[in-house]
């Protein structure tokens, strides 16, 4: 790189702890629960301790984040695995040596991906979902995958179900005025919907075949990883600490109110997912397999080459 001061150091995974090449990091983030750990790490000064200054940039999902990565507007971004894999499979970032994954971010737990209905709905069990309309936040993404997998596990043909796109905040209204029969929601919207309209759980989409499915994490470009191995390593270390602390509710709840603008009551009710502290290829491969099953990937896809193993932790 011209500006990166190419050191041409061998970057065989575990770079030796050294001076970070780039201290200021632009990090793409969404205002959702999943990134609580970043805010924890910022608050507690973990990035500062590593000599990093993180500048959060709001983005809207992977479709916006990956072009940002590609043109260097973002150094690292949060994103869901499906987007990362799809982009890599389409070779979108070939100009910047592909995409690299550096931290796991969020992983499903029971009660986290729920398909809900209104209180007076005739849908009582997963089987009743056959032939119905379900709201999901985005097509061809983790929600659709997990929903289809769990439906199938409950002997419902996913093809019989109509999915409609709604942003999470609008699902409650859509449920209430019966635009859809059920809605695939995440926290904090689940808690809100349960509290506000008495929404009822029909199916946990993070159960059975999708139990503990990885949701999202942090990635960068091959170019950035190669040119800034120490920076990446430092980031990984700091974030891992944040991930660890994010498991602690009292630390996280006030942050939610602040950055995600969730009201206090809801914050105290939400179910958090897992904040994994390691990046594990086998676990992530499950997502790729699901994607293949439901036609989001045309060929088999090996996630392993994308990972940049953490060092020094």
């Amino acid at each position: 790189g011209l500006l990166g001061g190419s050191t041409d150091k061998p970057t065989d995974g575990a770079a030796a702890p050294g001076k970070v090449e780039k201290t200021k990091i632009k990090l793409g983030l969404l205002p959702i629960l999943d990134v609580a750990s970043v805010h924890v790490a910022i608050k507690k000064g973990y990035f500062k301790d590593e000599g990093l200054e993180v500048e959060p940039v709001s983005i809207q999902g992977g479709a916006a984040a990956i072009p940002g990565l590609v043109n260097g507007e973002l150094d690292i971004t949060f994103g869901n695995w499906v987007s990362f894999f799809a982009a890599q499979a389409k070779d979108v970032a070939k100009g910047v040596d592909g995409l690299k994954l550096i931290n796991d971010g969020y992983q499903a737990k029971p009660e986290m991906f729920l398909i809900l209905t209104g209180p007076d709905s005739t849908i009582k069990s997963p089987k009743d979902l056959a032939g119905k309309t379900i709201a999901i936040n985005t097509f061809k993404n983790i929600a659709e995958l997990t929903a289809k997998a769990t439906l199938e596990a409950n002997d419902v043909d996913p093809k019989s179900v109509t999915f409609k796109e709604f942003p999470f905040p609008d699902m409650q209204a859509a449920l209430q005025n019966k635009t859809v029969d059920a809605a695939f929601m995440v926290e904090p919207f689940i808690s809100k919907a349960q509290r506000a309209i008495g929404a009822i759980t029909v199916l946990d989409a993070a159960s059975g075949p999708t139990d503990g499915i990885p949701v999202a994490g942090y990635g960068t470009t091959g170019k950035f990883a190669k040119e800034n191995p120490n920076t990446v390593a430092a980031f990984q270390r700091a974030l891992t600490k944040g991930q660890r602390d994010a498991a602690d509710r009292p630390t996280v709840e006030p942050l939610l109110v602040e950055y995600a603008k969730v009201d206090k009551e809801t914050a105290s009710l939400v179910h958090f997912g897992e904040f994994p502290t390691t990046l594990d290829a086998t676990r992530l491969q499950r997502v790729a397999t699901l994607m293949k099953t439901y036609g989001l990937l045309e060929k088999d896809f090996d996630v392993k080459p994308m990972l940049v193993a953490a060092s020094g932790s």
Binding site: G28, L30, P31, I32, V57, S58, I59, Q60, A63, A64, I66, P67, G68, V70, N71, E73, L74, P167, F168, P169, D170, Q172, A173, Q176, P188, F189, K192, A196, I197, L256, Y259, A260, K261, V262, D263, T266
Partner: protein, 256 residues
């Protein structure tokens, strides 16, 4: 003055209907909080530094975008409107480009322009250029040929005819186009902030945060009201200009 009171009456009527609607049991107050609730929230926000920064970011971007759109579209409109050959030659391209939505362009635009304010300003300009361009072209079509002939006969060159006859005569309608463009810019700016994030803060980002976090409709509507007020202010400014610069058109047109 009377116009102002009447306008305020109109807005007040709308607020009353909204309030009644919001208070009725027809819709849950959660989705459509009445103006009294939104108003309180708004008053609180106006004291909030971060919110004000967002508003300022949007207003600045808006001013830049409107300026750019007018700066691009008016001269372009003058050329397209007065040189039929160019107009015909570019028609296919123009008509092809116009319906392309900014939303579809976001990833490409991010790639080219980054996530900074340039992104939203470019997309806003892209959307706002069209009403000005078309209003300019159509206004030129309606230009009284006798005015042009008069100027030509007195030895006025083409360029000067364009700027001192065609432009003033079409100015009223061009200004309407700019008024349209101003609100279009605002809407696109806020929408891009809302949909693409980044973009260096802004009202749309505020609305997105309020919405995607926990669906705080009161905050969303407060932000929306501020957008409306900004739009109103810009429009009012332009209308003032219209009244001052092209007073002649309202008199020759509206005398009755």
């Amino acid at each position: 003055m009377r116009a102002l009171t009447r306008g305020l009456l109109g807005v007040a009527g709308f607020l009353v209907i909204w309030e009644l609607f919001g208070r009725s049991r027809l819709v849950p107050a959660e989705y459509l909080p009445p103006p009294s609730v939104v108003g309180v929230e708004l008053a609180r926000l106006l004291g909030d530094q971060a919110f004000l920064r967002d508003v300022i970011a949007t207003v600045l971007a808006l001013l830049i975008a409107v300026g750019l759109s007018a700066g691009i579209a008016v001269p372009l409109g003058l050329v397209l409107g007065s040189v039929p050959a160019v107009r015909h030659a570019t028609r296919a391209v123009v008509e092809f480009l116009r319906p392309i939505p900014s939303v579809a362009l976001i990833p490409l635009a991010i790639l080219v322009l980054g996530i900074g304010p340039e992104l939203k300003i470019t997309l806003a300009v892209y959307a706002a250029v069209w009403p000005i361009l078309f209003n300019t072209i159509y206004a030129l079509d309606e230009l009284d040929p006798l005015l042009v002939e008069t100027a030509r006969v007195f030895g006025t060159g083409r360029v000067r005819v364009l700027f001192s006859v065609a432009l003033p005569s079409s100015l009223p309608f061009v200004l309407t186009g700019i008024r349209l463009a101003a609100t279009t810019c605002l809407v696109v700016l806020v929408s891009v902030e809302l949909l693409a994030g980044g973009s260096g803060g802004g009202l749309g980002q505020f609305i997105m945060d309020a919405r995607s976090g926990a669906g705080r409709m009161d905050l969303v509507l407060a932000g929306t009201v501020v957008a409306g007020v900004i739009g109103f202010a810009v429009n009012e400014g332009l209308e003032r200009a219209q009244r001052r610069w092209v007073a002649w058109s309202t008199v020759t047109g509206g005398r009755s």
